[in-house]
């Protein structure tokens, strides 16, 4: 029979006015959670490194012994009045009876207040070593299907080492992962808004976490769904049926051509490609297009652009140029030859030698110490943000400082020596026992995989190779999942887990079955990146129209339609160059080099377009460094910027050439729509453009004047096209 641990049963302690047989409160179990609930020990208040107004607590109560020292003993114990507990500064501040910067945190009539009073009256016991320790929490219900605008009251139970449990609902903390979908109350109530989908509520108590998942069906009639192309569709459509969200129809050929070419090769399809694709009657043409795109150099360049940024291929000084070129070329070549992803990662993580021997050592230029190396590896390849755990237990995840230093220890033996060329280093693994020191315990920590055990290594072994081996083992729960989630987001503008590199129990996938399936597919394929891209792109889910059908308009996470996304900076730059028949000229590059093929971040300084449209500086392992938000500066640039105007009005540019072109205006206008939007202009658009051409040239006398006027008219049409949302977005 489980004991119910009742608050209020206290044991007698010497000098205290506790009732006989009263069970003593345990500081860590009973008092610290009150501080956490009240946010007293949060990072914004007493929990920060310097404390607040002379009173410091450990962040989120991860170090109760320290908190005890601060509260009870520090400053000669002035915070506690054992003889008059309610007069304790500890309470008078919290109840705002004396000025308190943090405001009123406790109500004197509350149970929490009473517990603290009782604890003081008991003589401020810390607790005995034999007191039960909390092992986990559980939330009830763990999952539920709820209607729109529905709600549920959660119950949180703490489980202790002696088998006892306690209802800690009032003292737990609640946070939904999709704030647009739900809100929570202090007492564990969950209230939904009117968005269908999945929402998870993270529940925290005393360093432990649990998750409640709500599935919110729309309940609309689903009807006949589009045909299933592969298992992705089966899983997605099954979920859509469950939650009652009908999918949009499959997109037309022109839309698909544009979308796939942009997503896979980072460019617009040419007019010739468009005409050929639309005219092709082969039912398998979409699959063949995907194959062509994946096998093209455009794919390798576009994805190299992505990986180079994540791998911090930064030119932080001029002498780094050679290395950044070498590294980018290595990434591009690896993708072009479809190097298995696990091998790619191994070659980066365990990079050794000089830049000439092995260009990925360039990564080590930017990540200089073991902790940064580990944090980047964890975020990039394991989808885990370990940064918080350096100083304390991770607030939202199970990782502790010991886990942090155990993972960092894989990089403890990385050493450098000068290379043959100035400012270039050689990376090597020095012989010796690999270990880091836990800054809290001051004890050495040997290499330990996340959630795994210590790794025994001989002194001459490179620990990084062991880390890579663990990462690429087929049952690693992070490695494949992180990659497939990242690539899913690349294509769908939304990961199965968001953010894509913050995978934790308290941030579950919107479709766990799909995530697991993709991960297994990827592992079974031998970590074949091209196969993964083909698999995703061939799915009907990817080929759904972006047009909402009414019921799915508000869907943001179930992929019932394509979610449009603005072209990223490099792709937009190249698309505009393509539309205006410009020829880029980047320093140290061949004329006509695409912006997606630029090797490093240095071009952001010299090409304003790239920085204003959010090209990342490659200074972090987070894709969030790339900004996709709209800004006034972007709009103004497209409308007015000198470089755009110059390209528009250039002699031998597209406008000039079209003005001289003797073909009918209809054909020329149609060509522009093919290039810019990969579709035919509708009659209204055609008429509008024709009228503009006529009105510009009416009243002009002489061939030269007419030509100039028509050229200007074509410039206007081009300018208008490139400022449309349809052009700016991948849809």
């Amino acid at each position: 029979m489980k004991l119910i641990h009742l608050a209020g049963l206290l044991s007698m302690s010497a000098g205290a006015s506790a009732a006989p047989q009263e069970q003593l409160l345990n500081f860590a179990n009973d008092i610290v959670p009150i501080l956490t609930k009240g946010s007293c020990n949060s990072g914004g208040c007493h929990g920060k490194a310097s404390g607040q107004n002379g009173f410091k607590l450990s962040l989120l109560g991860f170090e109760p012994q320290e908190d005890f020292e601060h509260i009870v003993k520090e400053a000669r114990g002035r915070r506690i009045s054992p003889s008059a507990p309610q007069q304790s500064l500890f309470l008078t501040k919290a109840t705002a009876q004396v000025p308190h910067g943090g405001g009123k945190k406790l109500d004197p009539n509350s149970e929490e207040y009473q517990d603290i009073v009782r604890w003081i009256r008991q003589g401020m016991p810390y607790g005995k070593a034999t007191d039960p320790k909390m092992e986990r929490i559980s939330v009830s219900p763990p999952a539920k299907v709820l209607p729109l605008k529905g709600g549920v009251q959660l119950k949180v139970t703490a489980h202790y080492s002696d088998g006892s449990t306690r209802d800690v609902t009032r003292r737990a903390l609640y946070e939904p992962n999709e704030k647009s979908m739900a809100q929570t109350s202090e007492s564990g109530g969950v209230e939904l808004f009117d968005l269908p989908g999945d929402v998870a509520v993270m529940v925290r108590y005393q360093g432990k976490v649990a998750t409640f998942r709500a599935t919110v069906p729309l309940g609309a009639p689903v009807g006949v769904q589009p045909p299933v192309s592969n298992e992705i569709d089966r899983i997605v459509f099954a979920k859509l049926r469950t939650i009652g969200i009908p999918s949009s129809a499959v997109c037309d050929d022109g839309t698909f051509l544009r979308r796939a070419t942009l997503d896979i090769a980072g460019r617009l399809p040419s007019a010739a490609e468009m005409k050929e694709f639309l005219a092709d009657k082969d039912s398998g043409k979409r699959g063949k297009l995907i194959d062509r795109l994946v096998d093209s150099e455009g794919y390798a360049e576009y994805f190299a652009n992505k990986w180079a940024s994540l791998l911090r291929n930064q030119r932080t000084q001029p002498t780094f140029a050679r290395g950044s070129y070498l590294f980018w070329n290595w990434i591009r070549d690896s993708l072009s030859q479809n190097k298995p992803y696990d091998q790619f990662v191994t070659e980066v993580v365990a990079a050794s030698g000089s830049l000439d021997q092995h260009p990925p050592v360039a990564w080590y230029r930017q990540v200089r110490d073991a902790k940064t190396q580990m944090e980047d590896v964890a975020q990039l390849f394991l989808g885990t943000r370990m940064q918080c755990a350096q100083c304390h237990h991770h607030p939202f995840e199970k990782w502790s400082q010991q886990d942090y230093y155990g993972l960092a220890a894989f990089f403890a033996n990385v050493a450098r020596k000068p290379g043959a060329i100035r400012d270039e280093e050689m990376i090597f693994s020095k012989r010796g026992s690999a270990q880091m020191v836990n800054i809290r315990t001051k004890q050495p920590v040997v290499p330990t995989s996340l959630g795994g055990s210590e790794v025994k290594l001989a002194p001459e072994q490179d620990p990084r190779l062991e880390l890579a081996q663990w990462m690429r083992s087929g049952n690693n729960p992070f490695f494949a999942h992180t990659l497939v989630n990242r690539y899913w987001k690349h294509f769908f503008n939304r990961g199965l887990i968001e953010p894509e590199d913050d995978m934790r129990e308290t941030n579950p996938a919107v479709n766990p079955e799909l995530l697991e399936h993709l991960a297994q597919f990827f592992v079974k394929s031998g970590y074949d990146l091209k196969a993964l891209v083909r698999y995703i792109a061939r799915s009907t889910t990817y080929q759904l129209s972006a047009q909402p059908n009414g019921p799915n308009e508000k869907d943001r996470q179930n992929f019932s339609r394509y979610y449009p996304k603005r072209l990223n900076a490099e792709v937009l730059y190249d698309s505009i160059q393509n539309l205006l028949e410009g020829r880029s000229q980047f320093a140290g590059q061949e004329a006509g080099t695409r912006a997606v093929a630029l090797p490093d971040n240095s071009y952001n300084q010299t090409t304003y377009f790239l920085s204003v449209f959010g090209r990342p500086d490659s200074s972090s392992a987070c894709e969030c460094e790339r900004t996709q938000e709209a800004s006034l500066a972007q709009s103004l640039h497209l409308l007015n910027a000198a470089d755009i105007q110059t390209q528009l009005s250039r002699n031998d540019g597209r406008a000039d050439r079209l003005a001289r072109d003797g073909r009918p205006d209809d054909d020329k206008i149609t060509d522009l729509y093919h290039i810019a939007l990969s579709r035919e202009p509708n009659p209204q658009e055609l008429t509008l453009a024709q009228k503009h051409l006529l009105s510009k040239s009416s009243g002009k006398v002489g061939a030269a004047e007419v030509l100039a006027a028509r050229r200007e008219a074509f410039e206007d049409i081009l300018w208008a096209l490139l400022n449309t949302k349809e052009f700016l977005f991948n849809h």
């Binding site: 096998d295 093209s296 150099e297 140029a321 050679r322 070129y325 070498l326 070329n329 070549d333 072009s336 030859q337 191994t346 070659e347 365990a350 990079a351 050794s352 030698g353 000089s354 000439d356 021997q357 092995h358 990925p360 020596k417 290379g419 043959a420 060329i421 100035r422 050689m426 090597f428 693994s429 012989r431 002194p459 001459e460 490179d462 190779l465 000229q585 140290g588 590059q589 061949e590 004329a591």
Partner: protein, 733 residues
Amino acid sequence: MKCFLSLSALALCLAGAISAQVTYPQPYLQALDAVVFAPGAQTVLSLTGTGLDTVQSAVLARRSSALVKVDLLPAKEGKGRVLANWPSSLAEGWWDFRVLTPHGLSNPRAVLVSRRPVTLSPGSNDSPEKALNLPSEGVVSGQFKAGAAHWFAINLKRGQRLQGVHGQGTTDSRCRLMGWLEDPQGRLVARLRDGGMEALISADGQHRLKLHDMMFGGGVDHHFVFEWSCGPRLWARGRDAVVGWNLPGGKDMNGVSVDGGPPVQWLAFDPAKPPSWIAAAIAAPQLPSLPQKLGLAANKAGAARVEGQVAHWTGWFPLRGEAMVHEWPVKKGDRLLAQVISHALGFASDALLMAEWRRDDGKGAVTFAAEANDVGVLQPAPTTRWQGLDPSLSLEAPADGTLRLLVSDPGNAANGRRLPFELRLSLRGKEPAGLALDAEQLIGFHAATPPAAATAAAIAAPNLLRGGSAILEVYVPGRDASSAGQPIEASAEGSAIRLQGWVGAGRSMGYVSLSAPEQVGHSVFSLSPALRVQNLVWPVADVAREAPVHRLSSPAVFAVSEHKAPVLVELALKPGTSATLAGKLSLQVKLRRSAEFKEAMKLRILGLQESAKAPEVTVPAGANEATIDLDPKTLKLPAGDLVLYAQGTAKMGIRAQAAAIEAATAAKERAAAAVKGLAGPAKKEPEAKAAVPSSAQLALAEAEKTLAALLKSNPSKDVVALVHSPLLRLELR
């Protein structure tokens, strides 16, 4: 991009100015516009550099071949262009090309002699539409303009296995060549990687090849040479085996990739009868040398091959930086030297050598002894930094047992490459009596190379002045503090040059002095062929800001210039003193000045320690000797052989056509002597004159006139030359 300073200038050492800047006009060859020649062909060349106005001939050199000298004639195409007629017997392959002027020999530049079709890429083929047609095998060379690529079209057939090679980093070009081959449909077939390309052709038709510099640089320094064929490509060669691709009869080496790509092939052969196709196979310059008796087995340590006091193992470094273990029984007190030889053979390895002891005590406990990744500090340090020397360990067995040597290549741990190595274990105390310059792994450094800057003067090969000396620093591997002094035996084929070489006790750097007697004419010679000498490829303004780029060349080639040395320097122990550790070391410097050189001369005494701290002695103006006292204790000199030399600068006047002037001077002196002889003794003018036949007087007048004309048309120009004494060997007790 201008990379050359207008006149050679020796920058001042960090220890302080010891002399004027060297301005001797050594020729510097920056680039030549054609780097591929066919035997028997005539080529018009445009040479870029300085000091090339009076180019006389080209000198081609390469290991295991005699020097080839080819006159360079003025070409009708105009100034700065020369014509070369290449001998039809010129062997194919890569050569070092130098030019010879009256002042000496230039630095080398790599050129390719090939019988394959050679195409010069004009640069106008900068787009796919303008691709230049190429034959199915051949050589293409060209020069990049900034921001441009070169395109080519080649007709290939399905099933062919195309091999392409370019000398990544070894062709004296700043260009790092990149490119790809695409099929008739524009699909990528293969990329250039690691100095080569292998492409399996899957469709008939016109394929396109794109070549460009990685960073799209351009200029005379950005030339390229790309050789291709569907035949064999060599990656490394030994006396009895080759490794490469497409080798007729070659065996696939499972799991051994040398460039991260597909496995290589291996072919062993009788050294007396190498396959004829090897000479014609395409290969990069400076092909690495395979260790002797390397063998096909790649994955475990084999038995040692024992020769005298030395055990040799050969093998391939394991993957992933793992170690291969070799064991050898030892007795207590055995003094051993373990050396890895891999980088010295030309492989891009970064070997780690570790030693462990296992006692014969029945328990088999293993204890760590030592490890080395680079060679230890060289004593004394060379004036030029050289990286990547193979590691070695000196060990003494603490007890009877087994020495375990673990060899790995951690620098290539992550890139899938495996490279060959040889491991040598020698018993110390049995060093050979003399070190031959033919011995492998010796590397020479031109002692003239200054530390503070690496300018054009440092780039040229050392040129001896007639009657003068030059010094070559020589790295001798496998030495430590306990090594005894040893002579270095050297030969200069077919010349009267005097050579003297020594490496001192406890030293890893030795010296070879080369002295040219005055009567030796303007000539070129090479040293023992196996010695490789470091050459600076490009000058830099300040080595503190930019690392110089060097490469090794073999053989070491020198020239004796037309000019006489302005002063001869001798270094000796001061008479009446001895060389003892406890006392002072008194050295005497003696000068034999030419008539023109009267200034004071400051000299550095080198060979004791790092050159920046070399002691200095000054011989005052008009004087011919000076002494310097050194304290062996302060200099931390070990007992045993000590090898020193003196270095300084001296002003001298040089004239163009020096040889002609010397000949005219000699003719005038002969004519004057003849006249004097005919005049007879004690005869006054005009009787003396009357006694001389008019023909003799005419001859004298002619000789004087000729000499005067030559002197007038070739005014003297003052330059400052670097001078050395020969070596001084002392036994310090």
